[in-house]
Symmetry: C2
Subunit: 363 residues, 2 copies
Amino acid sequence: MERRATIKDVAEAAGVGVATVSRVLSGGSASPQTRERVLAVAAQLDYRPSALGRNLRQRRTGGMGLLVPDLTDTFYAQLAEGVLACARSAGEPVVLGSTAGDPEQEAELIGMLLEQSVDRLIAVPSGEEDTWAPAIRAGMTVVFADRLPARPSPEEEDPAAATVSDLMLLDGIAAPPPAPLPAPGRSSEPPSLPSVLADDRAGIRTAVRYLRGLGHKRIAFLGGPGHDRRVSAFREAVGSPVDEELVVFGTGSRDSAYAAASGLFQSRPDLSAVVAGGNVLGEAAVLAARELDLRVPRDVSLVMYDDVPWAELCSPPLTVIAQPGRDMGYRAAELVLRSAGRRARSIVLPTELIVRGSCGPRR
Amino acid sequence: MERRATIKDVAEAAGVGVATVSRVLSGGSASPQTRERVLAVAAQLDYRPSALGRNLRQRRTGGMGLLVPDLTDTFYAQLAEGVLACARSAGEPVVLGSTAGDPEQEAELIGMLLEQSVDRLIAVPSGEEDTWAPAIRAGMTVVFADRLPARPSPEEEDPAAATVSDLMLLDGIAAPPPAPLPAPGRSSEPPSLPSVLADDRAGIRTAVRYLRGLGHKRIAFLGGPGHDRRVSAFREAVGSPVDEELVVFGTGSRDSAYAAASGLFQSRPDLSAVVAGGNVLGEAAVLAARELDLRVPRDVSLVMYDDVPWAELCSPPLTVIAQPGRDMGYRAAELVLRSAGRRARSIVLPTELIVRGSCGPRR
DNA sequence: CCCGAAACGGACATCGGTGTCAAGGGTTAC
DNA sequence: GTAACCCTTGACACCGATGTCCGTTTCGGG
């Protein structure tokens, strides 16, 4: 319960001024004997500089914030572990928040971080870009991981082409002729926000091709919030006449994922393969299939996005699109720490199709 | 990028002193018109008090620290979600650290938290009690979750009886006659540290009885670090002549868990049931069994500690001892927030045996 | 031997809040 | 009419660091 020693205590005990102590401890210049004496006294008093004083003086908190939708989603847990590993090796604290995929909670947490003067943030965003405007405006260095914030639904300009989101634009179906103008705008804009993403497009494409190679024609996509890039890649990969009934979404909870999967299987018994856009959705697909007495891979083939430890536990073990969750977190933390002040770069990491036993030839 | 408004800005704009602004915003007394004016100005300037200034003045950081061994262990993720939920509703930040079960990293993280003046901490401890002494001495309010720090191996007093750890003492085999003195000391000591624990003893006992009821005689325990209470409960439940070869440990990593499980199955093909002390160990047991062509539950029955979403995905779905991870985290956070200053209480939450399909009659 | 430059180190302001204290104004009681 | 009291309010010190500014010392060169 004893009071911690302050820089003043050290200064007095060493018979020097506080400024000298500060200089010595932060690597400034000082004569060898002074330095030595100060260090000795500091060690003897077990002095540790208070982050509070320093932070106030420098008007910023060290460390970084981390916002994820849900830690019980193993992928986000892996991501978080990566961030923590990097932060630990840098000796920096990490302030964690879980948003449950709710933009409102996300906004609250951003507010909390601003209040704490946390000026570096790694986030798996749930809200749209305007949720993030306050953070950016306040000068936070934000690195997005796993996905980017969605663009808000526009209010003016060609409402027909931009109704849903840019999904439709990237789709290449809804608006093929009127695309030339918006397209360059869109594609020149992505320079955009610093991020660490997996190469979703390639991952999905590989999976779809793999299923195609097994003879599957009716392939479904089971998506969740934030899977925009994956869906659009899926649409692109399956080609023009996308059967919209085969593209369904859950809201992020396990229950809704199960409902979506179960609904899909029941409404379209003719489908022969499913691509699950995330591990929670994959889990739901396995459960729903079992409940409906569909055997994997005999009755339905399944590819799941995310490699998680339990994918191997299933019978049969699940074929997955692995993305390097831990690496993504580590790299994001590096980015946010490195880019002291200015805008960070973006990184795309490769995915890998890991073939196990959940896909078979078309029945 | 604009500078945030400070309390001084608000004071000037409202034509009052800073003290008045502080009073108004922290619920102190002020005349209605003053209050109104200050609030209006604050809202208009979008003023948010800086946690930095406040923390420095009050010599403490708000919020709490959270230390867990590994977030990719779903149980700890659930625990963390509980803590985050409570903290979020209180508007408090959570500083997270992952220790990888390594006392050294744990000690480092404790140091980091002390530096940050975080004075409330929830921890799943890996180190022994002396790892925690600095934190306690510094006046931190610490609530342990899931387990308590192990007592350091004593250096004096009857070295024979206390060689390994208190495991051996509780064992009741290594030192049956010289036990009377240490025993009351042990059992009167637990008033000890504030904590939120699951009723491991009851959980394990129930599981062992259940397996016994199915006819199993050779039941093994697959443990990990921190499973002391579970092991001792296991020993107690199986009764006196404990077959020590049937009690094996991993070090916490997935690899070592797998090695332990595989070694167990290979060295003792006569065992007919396994109790896995945690979900990582359960996972390892399933994989090892499959690798050795042991079918569950025909060749070997399995009960796993921790209910995790993927337990239902296995074939057959795993029978588990469920402990309320999320609740434990939430309750721990409540405890640590409530007990502003003084010592917190302890809580024990019930476990539940959830019978699914991984246990069958003795082969 | 003296002068200038460079190295060193201490006093002090500062960051953004909170708590203390005393002054001032208004009301009530005697 | 005056004393006693309460309520409101602002000035100011303080928390523990950092950085600026300036005085002092030391050393080398002329």
